[in-house]
């Protein structure tokens, strides 16, 4: 892509995102910046307060969780809840299952989704738009309503009550295709055109151009799919009946409750443990959302 071509096509090139210009007041705390930070901190408090209460409640005795008035910090910290979760429950089995499911589903979703999205975004063929609308259409149907026919189908395939059922269910969703397609549409056609002129096949274009340029979308799809699979409750409830197949959400629910009662302190302890891996992944993966990796043009 020559300079001329850029000028002529008014091309929207991608550039490495420079850090936001700090302006003339770099290094000095202006009133605006301080106010901004304060506003952010208040917002963060609002966002995290319920979660904070949940963590604190996990350190209370079961019958102290719901007290009137609301107790934000318990007087004595009951660490026993955490010990109980690790020693008395099958937490490790649940974590293993959940991890396996989350990783497989995410990998398949991102792979097949981005692959299919290229077909929708870049290839023109008859029925493409209608098929895409069909894809989106299925998102518009609530899962509980077709849960039973789906269950019957998977049972006939003999995969219900195995981990494969969840993988099959979640890995081929329309959401990933939709997300990646939208993102691909922001990548200028000129890049692919030039690559085609250079003799690259469509598959090569997908691999060498689209994928590297859509890292933020891939990162967000990965994260969101991972979280959804990690926290999924109803799907595993219906399909994973054997206790050794249970995911964290399933296992916790049955561990902390019997027919009439739920030990909320214990439940919260388990849920806090369950949130940690996702928080770590998010913290580590943040840079992929905000650092655009782009080329300034192809060689030549």
């Amino acid at each position: 892509m020559t300079e001329t071509q850029v000028l002529v096509s008014g091309g929207t090139l991608r550039r490495l995102n420079d850090p936001a210009p700090v302006g003339r007041s770099r290094g000095r705390l202006t009133i605006g910046r301080t106010l901004g930070y304060i506003a952010l901190i208040i917002a963060a408090v609002g966002l995290l307060a319920p979660f904070f209460w949940m963590i604190m409640s996990s350190l209370k005795n079961a019958n102290e969780v719901f007290s009137v008035p609301v107790v934000w910090v318990p007087e004595t910290f009951v660490w026993q809840n955490y010990i109980d979760i690790w020693t008395k429950s099958d937490m490790l089995v649940w974590i293993r299952n959940t991890l396996f499911l989350a990783v497989s589903v995410t990998f398949l979703q991102v792979l097949t989704g981005s692959f299919a999205a290229y077909g929708f975004a870049r290839m023109k063929f008859a029925g493409r738009d209608i098929l895409f609308l069909v894809y989106i259409g299925t998102i518009a149907v609530p899962w509980q309503s077709y849960m039973i026919p789906q269950f019957i189908l998977l049972s006939n395939l003999k995969v219900s009550n195995t981990l494969w059922s969840i993988i099959l269910l979640q890995a081929f969703g329309a959401f990933g295709v939709f997300l990646m397609k939208q993102y691909y549409e922001t990548i200028p056609e000129e890049l692919s055109e030039a690559a085609r002129l250079d003799g690259l096949s469509e598959y090569g274009i997908w691999r060498r151009i689209m994928l590297p340029l859509s890292v933020p979308a891939i990162a967000s799809l990965t994260l969101l799919t991972f979280v959804n699979t990690w926290n999924d409750y109803l799907g595993p409830l219906i399909y994973l009946r054997n206790p050794d197949l249970w995911t964290i959400q399933l296992g916790l629910k049955s561990f902390v409750s019997n027919l009439f009662d739920t030990n909320y302190a214990l439940l919260f302890a388990g849920l806090t443990i369950s949130v940690v891996p996702i928080a770590i992944i998010f913290l580590l993966g943040q840079k992929y959302f905000v650092e655009g990796i782009a080329t300034s043009g192809l060689k030549g």
Binding site: F66, P149, R241, S254, N258, L259, F260, T262
Partner: protein
């Protein structure tokens, strides 16, 4: 366009095939050797904390050593959804535990239950009516809980209030609640379920919810709201916001009285033994009555409750049918009743021997009134067996939350519910 029609047609064909392939259960055909080993699957919930299934299974296999009963555990809260899904996919259990009466007609009309009218039932067993559809029985009751009044004897003595004597009406109950309320504890605790008010309203006035006329509930709701407003019982909204548990409220002596089902005695005994509940003397009394006609120990108090029963999967292996029916007959028998009573479950068959077993458990109350309350009562089914029941109960649940949360007046809520029944059930 043709391609699309072809596509649609083939999809329909695949769909039909996929759904048709869903009927499960092979057919053995020939009559099997009565002593051949047989495995029956039985659906249960919270198996670790609900010992009744294992108890019945063990007691049965002792007399029938060639039969193994395999318990299939289901999530307690979503039991019906999961059993339905399994039955639809052809992988349901051989013996289907009927956890709630309002789903019996669904299974029966869906052809999932075998006719078990030929299973012999002992005289005096209660709850059989709930499993009869068009004159045929489709399940057998093994357990019949009913609603009684739990009361904390220690708190009564401390407040100087006379303990229940079995002759209470609702006015007596309200008076006691007022006298028992102190700073530390309320007179009564009423749990959030619609049963706590509507069960009594229907059973004691002899009203069937299927008629769609709910005027009988007005007095009951007015009384309950009065107790709530006066502060003699925790109000509904606080109970919801704080997820109060009835075991917690009564067990830690935050309330002196509580209307609850007889299943609570087993939990309370266990919790007192483990220390989760306080150590205090308690008893059960008959539920307060509408008027003096049914009150008192020489009358039969009216209360409500639903049985729990076992049905047989209509798609069961024909070689297993006899064994399954034998299990049902056993579950309703006196032997099973004794076994259940010994672990604190209220069986469907209660005679003197069973009463003794039940109250012989360590930690159970020993006074005569408790025995009377548990064994002598007219138990009106809470859910009439009909295909309309589930819908109507749903409408009534909305009535309950509307009234108890204070967001709708009793009259408005009743009128709305009646209109909805006409509109949605017809």
């Amino acid at each position: 366009m043709n391609r699309k029609i072809l596509a649609a047609g083939s999809i329909a064909a695949v769909a039909a095939l996929a759904l048709a392939g869903c009927s499960g259960g092979t057919d053995a055909g020939e009559s099997a050797d009565p002593d051949a080993p047989i495995t029956l699957t039985l659906s249960g919930w919270s198996i670790d904390t609900t010992p009744e299934f294992q108890t019945l299974a063990d007691a049965f296999t002792k007399d029938h050593p060639n039969v193994t009963i395999e318990l299939k555990e289901y999530d307690a809260a979503e039991y019906n959804t999961l059993v339905t899904a399994d039955l639809a996919a052809g992988s349901g259990p051989d013996i289907i535990t009927q956890k709630e009466v309002k789903y019996v007609t669904t299974f029966q009309e869906g052809g999932q239950l075998l006719d078990v009218s030929d299973v012999a039932l002992p005289d005096g067993i209660s709850g059989t009516g709930s499993y009869e559809v068009d004159g045929a029985a489709y399940a057998v009751p093994y357990r019949q809980d009913s609603w009684v009044l739990f009361y904390n004897k220690a708190l009564f003595d401390a407040a100087g209030v006379d303990q229940p004597d079995g002759s209470w009406t609702w006015d007596d109950y309200a008076d006691a609640a007022e006298a028992l309320t102190t700073d530390a504890s309320k007179g009564a605790y009423l749990h959030r379920w619609q049963s706590t008010v509507q069960g009594f309203a229907n059973a004691q006035t002899g009203t069937s919810v299927l008629d769609g006329d709910f005027g009988n509930m007005k007095d009951y709701y007015d009384n309950t709201l009065a107790l709530q407003d006066a502060g003699y019982q925790v109000d509904f909204n606080t109970s919801t916001a704080n997820q109060l548990t009835y075991q917690g409220e009564f067990g830690t002596q935050k309330a002196a009285m509580m209307l609850m089902g007889t299943w609570y005695t087993a939990s309370l005994i266990a919790q007192q033994a483990s220390g989760e509940a306080n150590d205090f003397e308690w008893g059960i009394a008959p539920a307060p009555q509408l008027d003096a006609k049914t009150a008192g120990t020489d009358n039969t108090p009216v209360t409500f409750g639903d049985p729990t029963g076992f049905g047989i999967n209509a798609n069961i292996d024909s070689a297993k049918v006899d064994a399954a029916k034998q299990f049902l007959e056993f579950a309703a028998s006196e032997d099973a009743a004794q076994a259940l009573a010994a672990i604190g479950i209220t069986p469907a068959l209660t005679n003197d021997a069973v009463v003794e077993s039940y109250f012989a458990v360590e930690g159970a109350p020993t006074d005569d009134l408790s025995k009377f309350a548990w064994s002598t009562h007219e138990v009106v089914p809470e859910n009439t067996t009909s295909s309309k029941t589930a819908t109507i109960q749903g409408i009534l649940a909305d009535l309950h939350t509307g009234v108890m949360s204070g967001s709708t007046s009793v009259d408005d809520a009743i009128k709305t519910a009646e209109d909805r029944v006409k509109n949605e059930v017809g």
